[in-house]
C-alpha cells in the first residue's frame, strides 16, 4: 500500500520539485506540547490555522490544564459557533451543534478522536452515543468551512477532533479525585513511563465517575485508555491505542408536562426505570513514516465496537379503558395532561462494529515559484449494525419477546486530494476535492411479531469539492472559502418506544465562509467569520411535532447564515502584570430557516439566533488561579411552525433564553505536585428548559459544587 501511494505521489509531482530546497513550512501547525506561548488564548494559532482553508479553533493542552474541566461541554462552549448540552445521567449524552444544525447525539458534526471517526456507524448512523471523556484528551481541534473536505464522511458545518493524551518521556504518576453535589464522584489514575532507553513510551489511565444525577438519574462511567508509542525504523513511529468506556446510566425518553414544570422545575425524572448500558471498545494503530525529505505517510488502522441496551418503560397520554396502569403522573382531568405508565417496557438492543484503514500522504514541492503542500489519501471502511427491539412484561426487564430484528452492513470508500498553494508568503490558495462512495445493505429479519426476510441495498456517491484562500500573516489575515456540504443517507434513530428506523436521504448543500483573524496587538486577539449555507435537503428533527414523534426527517431546503466572532483580551500584557489575566468573549449569530413550503422563513427547531459565552481567567504565579465562565443562549423553537405558546404536554412551545455562570478556583502547590480545586457549575442555580424533545420538558442541570484534589509526580531523575 505504501509503495502504491508513494508511486502515485511521484506521478503527481514534477521531478524538478525534489531538486529545490524548501523552507520550513510556514503553515505547519505547532504542536501544543512543544510551545508555551501559543496555547494561552483561543485564536492565537494564526500560523497553524493558515493551513486550514477556513475557520478553526484549537483548545490547547495548556488551556485544558488551566481550565480543569469537569466535562467536555465546558471546553467546547468556548468555541465560536458551537452549542453543547451534556449530562452524565440521562444516558451520558452529549449533544453538539455547530451553526444551527441539529444537535441530537452530535450527529451533524463529524466527530473524530486522533483523526479516527468515533460515531456508532460513521456513514449510516453517525450518532455519538457515548460522551467522549475529557480526561482522555490533551487538545481539541475544531475545523469549519472548506477545511472539512479533508475528513468525512460528513462535511457539513464542522469537524471536531479530540487529541488523546500522549505517553510522557519520563515516569509520571497522576491521581485525581472529585466529590460534589448529587454524590458526584470522580476518581482517576494515570501512569506513564518509558522502556528500552526511552525509545518506547506508554501511558495507562483509568477513570471512574458516578453520581445520583441532578434529576435522580444515577450514572456510572468507567473509562480506560492505554497508549504506546514506539519507533518502527528510520523515520517511522507507531502509536497503538486501546480504549474502553462503559456508561451505565438512567436514561429517560419522557419529560415533564407544562404543569409539572410550572409547579416544580426540579421534579426528578418521571421514568426512573428507564436505563441504558453502553460498552465501547476501540483499538487503533497510527503509523507515521517519512518518505524522503518532503513526503510523509500516515496510516490509520482502526476498529471499534459499541453495544447498547436501553430499556424504556411504556407509557401513554391516551389511556385505554380496561387497561391498568402502574402510575399516573400529572393531571388526568386535562386531555394529554397526564402520563400513564404501563406495566411493560420496550428494550432497544443494538450493537455496532466499524473497521477502517486510511492512508494519508502529505507531500511538499515547489513548481514555478509556487510552494505546494499536497494532501491526498483515502479510506476503506466497513460498518455493521444489529438491531433488536423487544417487548418486556415489566418495566425493569432487559429480556422481553422479540418484536423487530434488523442487520445492516455498509461498505464505504473515499478518496481526497487537496493542494495548498503558497503563491507568496502571504497568499495561500487551497483547492481540494473529496469523493465518497457507500453501499448500505439492510436485512430485516423480524417485523410486526413475525419472522421475515427482506433485503434492500442503497448505493450513494458524493462528490465534495471545495476551495479556500488565506491572505495575510500569522498576525493578521483574511480568508474565504466554499465547499459542498454532504452527509450520506442515514437510518433514523428511533426515539419513540415502539418506533423503528427509517431510511433518510441525507444532507446536500453549499457552504461559504469569509473571515479575518487579527493578533497585531500583543494584548488582543480577534477573529470574525461570516458564514452562509444553502442546503437543498437537510436532515433535522421532524418539524411537525404531531407526526414526527421526535424522529429525524428530511426537512427539505434550508438556509443558514450568520457571523461568529471571538476576542481575547490579554489584560496582563496590556497592563504589564505578572499575573495572567485574560478575558475571552465569543458571540454567534446564526439565522437558520426553512427556504420553501408551508414553513418558509420559519426558524429551524432548536437553532438559537444568538449565543454568547465569555470567560475571565486569572492565574497567579504562586499557583492560585480561577475562572468565571458565562453562557447565554437565546430563545429557540421546538417545532417548525415556531409555535410560541406552550402546549399541555410541554413538547411544543418557545424555549426561553437562559444564561448560566460557572466558576472554578484552584491552587497548585508546585513543590508537592498537589492541586486543590473547587468548581461550581451553574452557580446561580438557574432553572431553564434545555429541550422539549423527545417527549416533554427536560430541564438544564441545576447547581453543582465539586471539590477536587489532584496529585502529579514526575520522576525527573531518569532523564
Amino acid at each position: 500500500m505504501k509503495r502504491v501511494l508513494f508511486t502515485a505521489a511521484l506521478l503527481l509531482v514534477p521531478r524538478a520539485a525534489f531538486a529545490q530546497e524548501l523552507p520550513k513550512d510556514p503553515s505547519q501547525p505547532v504542536d501544543s506540547q512543544d510551545t508555551e506561548h501559543d496555547v494561552r488564548i483561543v485564536g492565537n494559532k494564526a500560523d497553524s490555522l493558515q493551513k486550514v482553508p477556513g475557520s478553526g479553533t484549537v483548545i490547547t493542552e495548556e488551556q485544558l490544564k488551566r481550565q480543569q474541566p469537569v466535562d467536555t461541554a465546558e471546553v467546547l462552549r468556548r468555541i465560536p459557533g458551537v452549542q453543547v448540552r451534556q449530562e452524565f445521567s440521562g444516558g451520558s449524552r452529549i449533544d453538539i451543534s455547530i451553526r444551527g444544525l441539529e444537535s441530537g447525539r452530535s450527529r451533524r458534526v463529524l466527530m473524530l478522536e486522533d483523526g479516527i471517526p468515533i460515531a456508532l456507524n460513521p456513514y449510516s448512523e453517525p450518532d455519538l452515543n457515548h460522551a467522549p471523556v475529557i480526561e482522555n484528551y490533551r487538545a481539541i481541534e475544531v475545523v469549519k468551512g472548506s477545511g472539512n473536505i479533508l475528513f468525512g464522511p460528513q462535511t457539513l458545518a464542522g469537524t471536531i477532533n479530540f487529541v488523546t493524551i500522549n505517553p510522557p518521556d519520563h515516569q509520571t504518576v497522576v491521581a485525581d479525585a472529585d466529590y460534589g453535589s448529587y454524590n458526584y464522584f470522580r476518581g482517576l489514575a494515570r501512569y506513564g513511563d518509558t522502556l528500552m532507553n526511552g525509545d518506547v513510551r506508554y501511558v495507562v489511565q483509568v477513570l471512574d465517575r458516578h453520581g445520583d444525577g441532578f434529576r435522580d438519574q444515577p450514572f456510572n462511567q468507567i473509562a480506560a485508555l492505554g497508549k504506546v508509542i514506539f519507533p518502527t525504523g528510520k523515520g517511522g513511529e507507531a502509536r497503538l491505542k486501546l480504549g474502553f468506556q462503559q456508561d451505565d446510566a438512567a436514561s429517560d425518553d419522557i419529560g415533564l408536562t407544562s404543569a409539572m414544570y410550572a409547579a416544580n422545575p426540579r421534579r426528578p425524572t418521571l421514568s426512573p426505570d428507564a436505563h441504558s448500558i453502553m460498552n465501547r471498545y476501540d483499538v487503533s494503530l497510527i503509523h507515521d513514516q517519512e518518505l524522503g525529505e518532503h513526503t510523509k505517510l500516515k496510516t490509520l488502522v482502526y476498529g471499534y465496537q459499541s453495544d447498547r441496551i436501553w430499556r424504556r418503560p411504556d407509557w401513554t397520554r391516551s389511556p385505554q379503558a380496561g387497561d391498568g396502569y402502574l402510575r399516573i403522573d400529572g393531571d388526568p382531568g386535562i386531555t394529554n395532561g397526564a402520563v400513564y405508565f404501563e406495566n411493560s417496557n420496550t428494550i432497544l438492543d443494538r450493537d455496532y462494529t466499524v473497521f477502517g484503514i486510511e492512508p494519508r500522504v502529505e507531500h511538499r514541492m515547489k513548481t514555478l515559484g509556487v510552494e505546494h503542500t499536497l494532501d491526498f489519501g483515502g479510506r476503506a471502511l466497513q460498518e455493521n449494525a444489529h438491531y433488536q427491539q423487544r417487548s418486556g412484561s415489566y418495566p425493569q426487564t432487559y429480556s422481553g419477546a422479540l418484536d423487530f430484528e434488523q442487520k445492516r452492513t455498509s461498505y464505504a470508500t473515499a478518496g481526497y486530494i487537496q493542494d495548498r498553494m503558497a503563491f507568496t508568503d502571504k497568499l495561500l490558495v487551497t483547492p481540494g476535492i473529496r469523493v465518497e462512495y457507500v453501499s448500505s445493505s439492510t436485512f430485516t429479519l423480524r417485523q410486526s411479531d413475525a419472522d421475515m426476510y427482506s433485503r434492500g441495498t442503497k448505493p450513494t456517491t458524493g462528490v465534495i469539492p471545495g476551495i479556500g484562500m488565506v491572505y495575510g500573516t500569522k498576525e493578521a489575515s483574511v480568508f474565504a472559502n466554499m465547499h459542498y456540504g454532504f452527509a450520506p443517507p442515514r437510518i433514523t434513530s428511533s426515539i419513540s418506544a415502539k418506533g423503528q428506523g427509517m431510511q433518510l436521504e441525507g444532507d446536500r448543500g453549499i457552504s461559504y465562509e469569509i473571515g479575518t483573524r487579527n493578533a497585531m496587538l500583543p494584548y488582543l486577539r480577534a477573529e470574525l467569520t461570516g458564514f452562509l449555507s444553502n442546503y437543498s435537503n437537510q436532515v433535522d428533527v421532524n418539524p411537525n411535532v404531531d407526526t414526527g414523534d421526535g424522529q429525524l426527517a428530511d426537512v427539505g431546503a434550508t438556509n443558514i447564515y450568520g457571523i461568529e466572532t471571538g476576542e481575547s483580551l490579554l489584560i496582563d500584557k496590556l497592563l504589564k502584570l505578572q499575573t495572567i489575566v485574560e478575558l475571552g468573549v465569543r458571540y454567534t449569530f446564526s439565522h437558520a430557516t426553512f427556504r420553501y413550503g408551508p414553513m418558509q422563513g420559519n426558524y429551524l427547531p432548536y437553532a438559537p439566533l444568538h449565543s454568547i459565552n465569555a470567560n475571565f481567567d486569572v492565574e497567579h504565579r504562586s499557583g492560585l488561579g480561577g475562572q468565571i465562565a458565562y453562557t447565554f443562549v437565546s430563545n429557540q423553537f421546538a417545532d417548525g411552525a415556531n409555535t410560541k405558546v406552550e402546549d399541555v404536554t410541554g413538547i411544543v412551545g418557545e424555549i426561553a433564553s437562559h444564561q448560566i455562570f460557572d466558576a472554578t478556583l484552584h491552587y497548585r502547590w508546585a513543590k508537592t505536585g498537589l492541586t486543590f480545586r473547587l468548581t461550581g457549575k451553574n452557580v446561580l442555580d438557574t432553572t431553564y428548559i434545555i429541550a422539549r424533545r423527545p417527549e416533554g420538558i427536560f430541564p438544564g442541570p441545576f447547581r453543582q459544587l465539586i471539590a477536587g484534589l489532584r496529585w502529579e509526580w514526575e520522576n525527573m531523575k531518569k532523564e
Binding site: 466529590y179 460534589g180 453535589s181 448529587y182 454524590n183 445520583d212 441532578f214 435522580d216 409539572m260 409547579a263 416544580n264 421534579r267 426528578p268 426512573p272 389511556p319 385505554q320 379503558a321 380496561g322 387497561d323 391498568g324 396502569y325 402502574l326 402510575r327 399516573i328 403522573d329 400529572g330 393531571d331 388526568p332 382531568g333 397526564a338 400513564y340 504562586s622 492560585l624 478556583l665 491552587y667 502547590w669 486543590f676 473547587l678 461550581g680 441545576f702 447547581r703 453543582q704 459544587l705 465539586i706 471539590a707
Partner: protein, 82 residues
C-alpha cells in the same frame, strides 16, 4: 509567605468541605408522591385500584376500587368492562 500559603490552603480545604456539604444536602431526594398523581394499588379480585397523592403531606389516599381509571369517564370504563 509560607504562613500565608498554609492559611490559604487550609481555607481552600475548609471552603471545599463546607461547599460540598452545602451542595449535597437535600438535593437527592426521590419523591414518588406529587400532589394529584396516582399510584396503582390492589383491589379484591386482583383488579386495579388507584390511590391519589394528597396535597400538603405527600401521602397517598386510601385505595379507590371503583373500577375507574382516572382521566376516563365512568361510562367509558364501564363499557370496557362489559
Amino acid at each position: 509567605m509560607i504562613v500565608v500559603r498554609r492559611v490559604f490552603i487550609l481555607g481552600l480545604v475548609a471552603a471545599a468541605i463546607v461547599l460540598v456539604a452545602f451542595g449535597c444536602v437535600g438535593e437527592s431526594t426521590w419523591e414518588r408522591c406529587y400532589a394529584g398523581d396516582y399510584i396503582s394499588c390492589s383491589c379484591d379480585g386482583g383488579d386495579f385500584g388507584y390511590a391519589q397523592c394528597l396535597p400538603g403531606d405527600k401521602t397517598f389516599s386510601a385505595c379507590v376500587c371503583n373500577g375507574q381509571t382516572p382521566g376516563l369517564d365512568a361510562a367509558t370504563d364501564a363499557k370496557a368492562d362489559q
